[in-house]
Symmetry: C2
Subunit: 252 residues, 2 copies
């Protein structure tokens, strides 16, 4: 990857308008986005700190299509039962309540940079993370978590759950939002441990004395209630993460 | 990647015992697993055709830990309300109903092989697919879909939903299973278009006349009801897939 080409892509991306409805980076991850964009080998292309949403889909339409849905409620924070009840009053189709966790897409200069970021993500419990390599040489690391909620609540506008259930559901979603924030912070800590801020790297380079810092990855914790009912799938998760259990070596 | 090393890994993997509870490849994807393993540049390391599960978690424990859960019901086919009701009778904690789609992990000889497989996966609607590169050079392409269900149903053993809701929920889950099977077939068709079966390649090599087949990727369809509330995240999906819209060129 030519240094100039990557820098050009980075400049184009960071200078263009944010076309999302929100138009700005979510507050809970702005420190992560800034940190990554300050590093010359990475830049963020999209992000979401996590959200709780209620949307109305077309009844009896198994393919959830963007054009067929209307949004009833959305928040990047915790929610209350009243938010869901109010949203459901506007439902005319099949309303679905969802919790979607933190997601981040980062373009990387080289594959080794993507691998490092991938290790950080897996180490932080963001186990659905993965790398994509485009035909023009664009390398994207997608940071993705596994924990979510997707709960159908109404059919043809008729709400099929009780207020008691909605209370409970909102509590579960808010717990997931709490866990989501913990993973965001864990990711940020691991990221800081793996990448030096740009300013520090410049000043440190001037120092005559450089010593290596050798840091081991934290042992990952299990976060899914999966039993081995399918071909080696749980063994795969364990083996693949041992494979990627590389020591992060960098110079201070 | 040394040819011998990759072949050794492949032999070790395909010859070892399947340690999953089920002990065999799921029927609905056995053709895909066989097809991939017949190709000398790939082999599967884990797989699941998709499943509907009901498991009991520890109440008020936001971190769903494998050791804290017990399985109440699991199927790789469609289910009936009675399955869920019977399972819930055994719940003493917080029971959760989940639909998990098709997932497949494939080890690839080289990055280009992983890219090709990734293109096939994205083209088939399996949008959470991604590549991981381990420190020993192991390249894994994880085929993952986005559609799912995760529905809490009971708290401390008390079921919080009605039979009518369970009827509806089971219907939604079964629709997702239908959609899942369609994506599996789409993936298999795209895979066949991208990779020649091993036997055909050997015999074709002997032919004097080789002509290129140039095939364009199908335009992807949207499958998620997401609105642009976060920084460029929807734009990212569109752009990244245009980037990866490489033409599949192979010799017949």
């Amino acid at each position: 990857m030519e240094g100039d080409t990557f820098q050009q892509w980075k400049n184009q991306c960071l200078n263009k308008c944010d076309f999302s409805k929100k138009g700005s980076v979510d507050e809970d991850i702005s420190h992560i986005v800034s940190f990554i964009n300050s590093h010359d080998r990475y830049f963020t292309t999209s992000s979401c700190s996590g959200r709780i949403i209620l949307f109305d889909g077309v009844s009896d339409c198994p393919d959830v299509q963007k054009r067929n849905c209307s949004w009833l409620f959305v928040t990047h924070q915790k929610c209350q039962r009243e938010d869901v009840v109010t949203g459901l009053e506007k439902s005319v189709g099949d309303a679905t309540f969802k919790f979607e966790p933190f997601v981040l897409h980062v373009q990387c200069k080289q594959l080794g940079d993507a691998q490092l970021l991938h290790t950080v993500a897996i180490n932080s419990g963001l186990r659905n993370s993965g790398i994509t390599v485009g035909k023009k040489g664009k390398i994207i690391m997608a940071v993705r978590s596994t924990h979510c909620l997707e709960v159908p609540l109404s059919h043809k506008g008729n709400v099929l759950t009780t207020d008691q259930y909605l209370d409970f559901l909102v509590g579960v979603a808010n717990q997931k939002m709490d866990e989501n924030l913990k993973r965001i912070e864990r990711f940020y800590e691991c990221l800081q441990g793996a990448l030096q801020p740009q300013e520090q790297r410049c000043s440190l380079k001037e120092e005559a004395d450089k010593k290596p810092i050798y840091r081991r990855r934290r042992k990952r914790t299990q976060d899914e209630p999966v039993t081995d009912c399918c071909q080696s799938i749980e063994k795969h998760h364990e083996n693949s993460e041992e494979e990627m259990n590389c020591d992060l070596l960098f110079l201070s």
